[in-house]
């Protein structure tokens, strides 16, 4: 999860403090629509698995907790 947090901070230079596991990344505007392309690529790189975009919803990316459960549970 450290890589994801670092990526989010890189995308949001004015972001102070840590990102809570249950913070709503979409509502907080920490990821915009174009960022999603890179975010998916990052998750695939970390997990080693391809994400089927027909099988996911926006809620799967809404919090760090949800991202971990949905895409990274196998990587620990």
């Amino acid at each position: 999860m450290e890589r994801i947090a670092a990526w989010l901070h890189e995308k949001n230079p004015g972001l102070d403090g840590p990102i809570a596991p249950d913070e709503d990344l979409i509502e907080a505007r920490l990821i915009d629509s174009m960022d999603f392309l890179e975010f998916i690529d990052l998750l695939e790189d970390i997990s080693g698995d391809s994400i089927d975009l027909q099988e996911v919803t926006i809620d799967d990316f809404r919090t760090l907790d949800r991202v971990r459960q949905r895409f990274l549970s196998a990587t620990g």
Binding site: N12, G14, L15, D16, G17, D24, E27, A28, R29, L30, D32, S33, M34, L37, E38, I40, D41, L53, T57
Partner: protein, 207 residues
């Protein structure tokens, strides 16, 4: 009714005399409070202001008299999803913001607008190919000497169409060189008036 699309910088909108958080509905203020990054918060706020100013010009109403709502076609919930004017169901509205830029559109029928910084580049292609029309993507990717602007244009057009809704097509696409913004508007109406913030400044919106 004129279909109107307006592009501005966030700073231009927030300097407008009518740009006041008092215009926001309580649910919008709650959403605003959840945005921690000041620049993102300003963009979000400016887009909300601009769409009201734009809709005011189209409807002949005052910005503060317009109610802006959002409804989600997927979950049926409110407070997110496609924006609309409950008191003007025939008027479509759309808003967009990115990196200090904002755009808004209002007009008859379905409306979708998207703005991005002209320097931004979508990617990678491995993800884009799963989201964008294949033929258009490869045509953009083949542009020389730099495919970046073509890919950005394709992304902005696609976003505008998605916001307008199924079956709607791009009506205008342009680059605002002064603001370094790439913009596309899609929707039902075939004739659009494109203006910048100067057009709205000076109109009586809050008296």
């Amino acid at each position: 009714m004129t279909a109107l699309a307006v592009v501005a910088t966030t700073a231009e909108v927030l300097a407008h005399p009518a740009a006041d958080t008092a215009l926001l509905a309580p649910w919008e203020r709650q959403r605003l409070a959840r945005i921690r990054v000041p620049a993102r918060r300003d963009d979000w706020l400016a887009a909300r202001m601009l769409v009201r100013l734009c809709a005011a010009r189209c409807t002949g109403r005052l910005a503060q008299d317009l109610t802006l709502a959002q409804g989600c076609p997927d979950c049926g919930g409110h407070g997110h999803g496609r924006p609309y004017l409950p008191e003007h169901p025939a008027v479509g509205v759309s808003l967009s913001h990115a990196d200090g830029l904002v755009a808004a559109a209002a007009g008859p029928g379905a409306v979708g607008i998207d703005v991005e910084s002209a320097t931004r580049r979508p990617g990678p292609l491995s993800v884009m190919r799963r989201l964008l029309p294949e033929a258009e993507l490869w045509a953009a990717a083949a542009a020389r000497p730099d495919p970046g602007p073509a890919l950005l244009g394709l992304w902005v057009r696609t976003e505008a169409c998605l916001k307008a809704g199924q079956g709607e097509c791009v009506r205008r696409e342009w680059t605002d060189r002064r603001r370094s913004a790439v913009v596309a508007v899609a929707g039902t109406c075939s004739s659009w008036t494109v203006r910048d913030m100067d057009y709205l400044v000076g109109h009586e919106l809050d008296t």
